[in-house]
Amino acid sequence: MKVVSVKNVSKFYGQKQVLDNVSFDIEEKEIFGLLGSNGAGKSTITSIILGLEKQSSGNVVLFEGQKKNLKKRIALVPQSTAFYKDFSVEKNLRFFASVCGLKSKQIKPRVKFLMSWLSLEPFKDVKAGHLSGGYQRLLNIACSLVHDPELIFFDEPTVGLDPKMRQMFWLKIQDLKAAGKTIIITTHYMDEAEKLCTKLALMKNGKMLVIGKPRELISQYGGIKVMIFNITGGVKKEDIQKIRTVLNQFTVISRDELLFIPFEQEHTFEKVIAVTEWLMKKGYNISSSITKEPNLEDVFLNITGEGMKQQE
């Protein structure tokens, strides 16, 4: 089932075009990642899907056009916390459960479940405002999920969290996927997107640049690997020229003790061996070496064009 179907959506704020003919579909049980630099239009399209904003043109179809109880099937976990700071954890959850249409009998077990699932049980009587930042974010998720929605939007869910908490968030999101939920995440963290998302969309200046599975995107747009050798005393200039001929490629760069050698993905292995052998034969002392694999970040930088600027 196409949970979300966005077709040719454009949005103007006055004269300013924020979304330019954006189209994409999100299937059931997908974790859909919306990537894009700041101001790309991620929040805007999210708002339009949620019905918080109206598109200037184009249309959005949810659950293949089923309108019944739409609001009960959708949830947003906003980036900044949204609950009553003066209410206790439990009171917040109970209130939002009630507002989201749960019957009074359903509220108690649901709240209990969410608290234990998100490790909020020990803080149930603590005022929300007194929770640490991380737990406030957990409560924020809990508040959004009181009505057990099918489609969940996470807006930059892990910003400002410590690594342990991030891991936990990821686990929880995967729990949700396992429970059959469809999830849309906007994020700036490429590792997060790569790890979590089953599908990614990359936006820039209101335009949808690419959509695809993470692997596909990396192999398609991730570009080259880079081998970096740390050589004691550095490499002589004439030797660099020789390495170029050995490898039959132009780009070999030396900076102080570091030697950068980019590779096409297919020939990596042979070339690494060749260079290593040649250097050792020449009597260079390789103190360390690493290979940098292309990842989503490279995809991002390459596609948005911002990576090129950095390399120059």
């Binding site: 918080l52 947003l76 906003p78 949204a82 009553y84 700071k85 507002v99 989201c100 249409g101």
Partner: protein
């Protein structure tokens, strides 16, 4: 430097709050401007707003009444025929305070009933004080005038009395000198009892007699001998005449004619009468002879007495002169008596005038001079004056709590993103607003309940704290409690909706508070709670009369003090409901939820 940076930071932060900064600078202009334009002319030109009604129950002419009407002509003073009409005028606000003049007599203490409208306490008491001051002034002027009259009278009497005392002293000395003079006079009168003039005239006739006597003396002596011959001669003549008669009688027989006989008889009788006269003459001459004899005999004696009489006359003249002197003395004594009398007359006139004035003054009750007027204050609605405070307190407290709390919480929900969550929730916007408004209403009702408990309760304290012996005010009102409840709900609802409206316009709590206050404070001043409405420009009075706060205040005053029902206060109630629905409607359709 650090401090400077912190100061600059603070100012910059304030500067960043665009609406706040606008309010900070607009606020004084708005408040001062609004109040300024509303109350420009709390001066003479506004005095005609001071509407005072009065009833003259004095059954005598009083200048107080006249001066009340004339000398304060710039006030709007209306005279009513009786108290009922005055009260009616107060009820329908033709006049704002009332004065009833009572008094038994012109010079008795004036009694004044002051009536104030305790549903319009501020203006009414204010105007009542003005009326009171006016009456106090005219009556004390009157008392002062009386006192002045008494004072000038006493002063005039005081300066005259010195002269009176001098006059009396004069009178005394004059009397004693007159007494001496009269003593003298007494002596002199004892000696003499005649006048010099009498003496002189007597003396003159005496002297005339004396000189005639002297002049007679010589001829008498000379003719003495001739006189002695006179009787013999008379006898001779008489004999002759008798012989003639006899001869004539002879002729009678001779004469034939009767006419001749008659003529002869006539002659004969004529001669007979002469003869009888001759005999009288003879006796007279005989007497004259004897007198002449006597005069010549007593001559020496008369002469002797003449000199004696002269001496007597001398003395008599002296005596008469003394009498003149005494008369003069008496005359002068009479004159001084007259002056003394006239002086005494003026004194007595003065005294009688003074005593008359004292009688006049005695009619003036001394209390009038000390305290010319006694005031009795009364309210036209039979509810304690602080009843209005209950209403005012309710309105002020409700507007503050309802508006501020509602707007603060509405903004808080917005800034804490809860609004976003609620917007996404399946609960309808109407239910969300309804819940919000009812929640606020509950707080407002609790608030109002506390005020009512304080107002209605009167719990004696076991001991007095700072002179307070009771808890609560013991307000008694004829208001229907259910209607009162409805009114409080309506008022709260209006303020809550206004709070929502303000909150929907602004972005953060501080601006919401500032904006709310910007609305509340001028409204407070224009609602008649703080300043008397009657001093406002008429157009501003009109504006004021449709301000929610004024309406709320009037509604509650109508119920609590005037004992009206909500249906009688349909204008206030209706307009409040209209404001609620209008602001709620605007917020409802403006807010995405």
């Amino acid at each position: 430097m650090k401090l400077f940076d912190i100061i600059w930071k603070e100012i910059s932060l304030i500067k960043a709050q665009k609406i706040a900064i606008a309010l900070i600078f607009l606020y004084p202009f708005i408040v001062v401007g609004l109040l300024g334009s509303a109350f420009t002319g709390v001066d003479i030109s506004r005095m005609n707003q001071i509407k005072i009604g009065f009833v003259n129950n004095l059954n005598f002419e009083s200048e107080i009444v006249d001066s009340l009407v004339t000398s304060y002509s710039n006030l709007s003073i209306t005279q009513y025929d009786n108290e009922d009409l005055l009260r009616a005028g107060l009820y329908n606000k033709q006049v704002i305070s009332g004065v009833i003049l009572r008094g038994d007599a012109p010079n008795k203490q004036l009694k004044v009933d002051l009536l104030y409208d305790n549903s319009n306490l501020l203006s009414s008491r204010f105007f009542m004080e003005i009326a009171k001051a006016l009456i106090q002034k005219t009556t004390s002027d009157y008392a002062q005038k009386n006192l002045g009259r008494i004072w000038t009278t006493i002063k005039a009497f005081g300066s005259n009395i010195d002269e009176e005392i001098r006059n009396v002293e004069d009178f005394k000395s004059q009397l004693s000198s007159a007494e001496l003079a009269l003593d003298d006079l007494e002596l002199k009168l004892n000696a003499v009892e005649y006048k010099e003039g009498d003496v002189n005239s007597v003396r003159a006739s005496f002297n005339k007699f004396k000189s005639e006597y002297e002049s007679l003396k010589g001829p008498l002596a000379q003719n003495k001998e001739t006189l002695k011959k006179l009787p013999g001669q008379i006898d001779e003549a008489s004999v002759l005449i008798s012989s003639i008669v006899k001869n004539l009688e002879y002729f009678d027989s001779v004469l034939l004619q009767d006419s001749d006989k008659n003529l002869l008889n006539e002659q004969i009788s004529h001669l007979n009468s002469i003869n009888s006269k001759m005999s009288k003459w003879k006796s007279m001459s005989l007497q004259l002879i004897t007198i002449t004899e006597k005069i010549s005999d007593e001559t020496s004696e008369i002469n002797k007495s003449f000199s004696k009489v002269d001496a007597i006359f001398e003395k008599a003249t002296l005596g008469a002169r003394s009498i003149e002197e005494v008369k003069e003395l008496i005359a002068s004594a009479r004159e001084s008596k007259i002056t003394i009398e006239s002086k005494l007359d003026s004194s007595s006139a003065l005294l009688s005038k003074f005593s008359k004035e004292l009688v006049e003054f005695s009619k003036i009750d001394p209390k009038v001079l000390a305290q010319p007027v006694i005031f009795y204050e009364g309210k036209i609605y039979n509810v304690d004056p602080f009843g209005i405070l209950v209403s005012n307190a309710l309105v002020v407290v409700l507007i503050l709590t309802c508006m501020l709390l509602t707007s603060i919480i509405f903004i808080m929900e917005k800034t804490e993103n809860v609004t976003l969550r609620l917007e996404l929730s399946p609960t309808s916007k109407f239910i969300l607003f309804l819940g919000k408004i009812i929640g606020q209403l509950v707080i407002a009702l609790i608030e109002a309940g506390i005020i009512f408990v304080v107002a209605f309760a009167k719990i004696p304290l076991p001991f007095s704290i700072l002179g307070v012996t009771h808890l609560g005010f013991g307000l008694v009102t004829s208001a229907n409690l259910f209607e009162l409840f409805l009114a409080v709900v309506l008022v709260s609802l209006t303020f809550i909706c206004l709070g929502l409206f303000i909150a929907s316009l602004v972005k953060n709590q501080s601006t919401a508070i500032l904006t709310s206050l910007l609305v509340i404070v001028p409204m407070l001043f224009l609602s008649g709670i703080v300043l008397p409405l009657e001093f406002m420009e008429p157009t501003m009075q009109l504006v004021s009369s449709i301000l929610p706060m004024t309406l709320a205040n009037n509604l509650l005053i109508g119920l609590i003090i005037k004992g009206l029902t909500i249906s009688q206060l349909w204008f206030e109630a209706g307009l409040l409901l209209f404001y609620s629905l209008l602001s709620f409607g605007v917020v409802f359709f403006k807010t995405k939820l």
